[in-house]
Amino acid sequence: MSSETYTNTHQGRLSRVLPDLLAHRQLLLDLIGKDLRVRYRYALMGVAWAIIEPLLMMLVLTFVFSYVFQIRFDGLMGEADIRTTALVILSGLLAWQFFSNSLSTATESLVDNRSLITKVHFPREVIPLASIGVALVNTVIGSILFVIIYTTLLGTLPPLAILLIPFLFLIQLAIVIGLSLLTACLNAQFRDISYMVNALLMFGFYASPVFYEPALVQARLTERGLEHWYPLLFANPLCGLITAYREILFHHQLPSLNILAWPIICAVLVLGIGLKIFRHQSPTLADKL
């Protein structure tokens, strides 16, 4: 039987985040499990939807960009055929959808769970983290599927370096957690935040190299003599991360620290700020919901 002692003074402390979360890890898992069950229980095809959605998206994007607009991914693969194009798009899509789904559900999570928050005391971080957890489960399923499609379409297993991707993914996860904590507690204060987040995500989809490659943007900018704007694309940390994933998957080379430095700095900053502000707000969250 766990026993706890609390006073109002130490609830807002940043140093308590990790112990609090460790003590409530089961609750986190339960909440993720609840979301997944609720989402897929009465769906005829169940968890299959977690796969079907990104697959359909991939087919549409591949058709539009590779067949209609004839965007070519020659930066990495030389002469890329349509199968590789589809895989490149799918890889970007997986990374993007994790980011976008996590952020949009986590932003609204506190408001959606206000009946719990206003009645029971537990570390509030659990709620947005559970939303991210659900998106993470879907991404893991999608990634396994990706490996299967990759092997089928290209006739070879992905390179062994693919085992590095989970570590790179941790950078992305940290950014997502930091941002989500920030937007979730701001949304408790101002409900505009969730609309703002959704609008920015729409913009972010085009600002991230999901259906194109940075090299393509560079080429177009150079044609117009605007190449000095090119680094701006990489201000988006997802740009460096998606490029890094693709270098491993399709270029069979390890990503340079050059590309990863900025995402890592972003991850540390965003996670730190997000945790700090969330913890500061969490003791009185119940008053705002």
């Binding site: 109002n8 339960d30 069950r37 609720v38 719990l116 009645k119 029971v120 009185t284 705002k288």
Partner: protein
């Protein structure tokens, strides 16, 4: 000395007047902020200071909006005070709202694990009490059906069962026992009784004063966010009932005064009390002369009744009728001038339904200037009142039936209380009492008890007291 498990010290809680979500550009949003319009602050609680010891059942009462629920939220850690400290040792389970966190699409079984997890239990701990939870709830085969197929009663029963078996150290209950059918309510009370037996700490918020009185040893009374009284249950509840009545009746309009004079003695009746004056000097003190009935373990004193206009009767006397708001009875007081500085009193209870009476008394409250008492059987000095005294204390040892009780003083005229009624409702005991330090009075009381078992009154009139008060050398 038991250790306090809940310590609330100097707590204040402020809320912004605008609760809930705001939009950036709307009212109280960014535009107002830029223009310097800040939301106003309202104070829900202030100067709250108390402790609850391990194993204690502690009640919180007060009118709607007095801050009871806010206080429970602070104890449960849902929110924190704006000032001051709340320290809680041990795991808290709150029954603030039953079934909070139930998801309608999950089955009863899944919700039990989820809800218990929210309350802080591991799966292994839930496994060990799972059968008890299901059995207590009476859900039966529905346990594997989604809870949105449950009736609202089943939903609440499952919620209570989970909370009741999560084995917390401290239980917070907010007005949730008015749920389910009669049988389940009895079961809930039984379970709460068991929890008290097991030494769990209970903090209980309710409007059901009888339930609070029967469950809790100590009660905190809140009024508009401030502590009014924190003491033993019956005392606080009586104070609260008193407060409700005085809130309802405006001071002068509804308190018509009636004077009855006899020689140097004047009796002034007002709202269930008789104030005695002797040679223009006030004689009685505090509650003055009043009566009280103990029924359903609560004292209902005459000052809480709704008193009708007085009417004249024979011998220059008056009849006063006070109607109870809570119980099916009314008191009829007949007060007449007696012989030489005395008044005669006759008190009748008229029941409109069956009434279970545990005790009934007529009392004269005197200032502490009175130092000695004499009954038919004993004579003694009144003991000094000390600040630690929190209960009324009977000073006599011989409880035999008596007729007179007298209080004397060096400075004040003697007061003699006579009872001259022998009737079917048992003997009258004349008993001298020291009140608690707060009321600071000596009491001469004519007490009628049912000798352990309650007196059952049938509809109709029952003559309960007849006697007189004599003042003089």
């Amino acid at each position: 000395m038991p250790k306090p498990v809940i310590e609330v010290s100097q707590v204040r809680k402020d809320y912004r007047s605008q609760r809930g979500g705001r939009v950036l550009l709307g009212k109280r949003g960014l535009s107002d902020w830029i223009r310097g319009k800040r939301s106003t602050i309202s104070t829900a609680l202030q100067d709250i200071d108390f402790t609850v010891e391990a194993g204690e059942a502690f009640g919180i009462i007060g009118a709607n909006g007095s801050g009871k629920s806010t206080l429970l939220k602070l104890i449960s850690g849902v929110t924190i005070p704006s000032q001051g400290n709340v320290t809680v040792h041990g795991r808290v389970a709150s029954l603030l709202e039953l079934g909070a966190g139930f998801h309608p699409m999950l089955t009863g079984r899944e919700n039990i694990y989820l809800n218990a997890g929210i309350l802080g239990l591991t799966h292994a701990e839930v496994d060990s009490v799972f059968e008890d939870i299901v059995e207590f709830s009476g859900i039966g085969a529905y346990i594997d059906k989604p809870v949105d197929t449950y009736s609202s009663g089943m939903y609440v029963r499952l919620g209570f069962s989970v909370a009741a078996y999560t084995n917390p150290d401290i239980f917070l209950i907010d007005e949730v026992l008015a749920v389910g059918d009669e049988a389940f309510q009895r079961k809930c009370r039984g379970r709460i009784g068991e929890l008290i037996e097991e030494g769990k700490t209970l903090v209980f918020v309710s409007h059901d004063l009888e339930l609070v009185n029967s469950l809790c040893q100590r009660v905190l009374l809140l009024n508009e966010g401030k502590m009014v009284l924190n003491d033993r249950s019956p005392k606080v509840i009586e104070h609260y009932l008193h407060q409700i009545v005085s809130d309802e009746i405006p001071e002068d309009a509804a308190h018509p005064k009636t004077n009855i004079e006899c020689g140097n003695l004047r009796a002034t009746f007002s709202q269930g009390q008789i104030r005695l004056t002797y040679k223009e000097e006030q004689l009685t003190h505090g509650l003055h002369v009043y009566t009280s009935i103990l029924t359903h373990t609560l004292w209902n004193d005459s000052t809480k009744l709704r008193w009708e206009q007085s009417e004249s009767i024979d011998h220059g006397g008056y009849r006063f009728i006070g109607i109870s708001r809570r119980f099916p009875y009314q008191l009829i007081w007949e007060v007449r001038p007696g012989t030489q500085d005395s008044i005669d009193m006759d008190i009748t209870i008229e029941c409109s339904g069956n009434l279970r009476l545990q005790e009934f008394h007529t009392s004269i409250c005197l200032p502490t200037a009175y130092t000695h008492w004499t009954s038919d059987h004993e004579a003694e000095a009144f003991e000094e009142l000390t600040p630690s005294q929190s209960d009324w204390q009977h000073l006599n040892t011989n409880y035999a039936h008596g007729h007179t009780l007298e209080a004397s003083s060096d400075t004040q005229p003697k007061v003699r209380f006579l009872s001259n009624l022998n009737n079917e409702n048992g003997p009258v005991c004349m008993t001298p009492i020291n009140t608690d330090y707060y009321e600071n009075a000596r009491v001469l009381q004519a007490l009628r008890t049912g000798n352990q078992s309650p007196i059952h009154l049938t509809p109709g009139q029952h003559h309960f007291f007849s006697g007189s008060i004599q003042v003089g050398q």
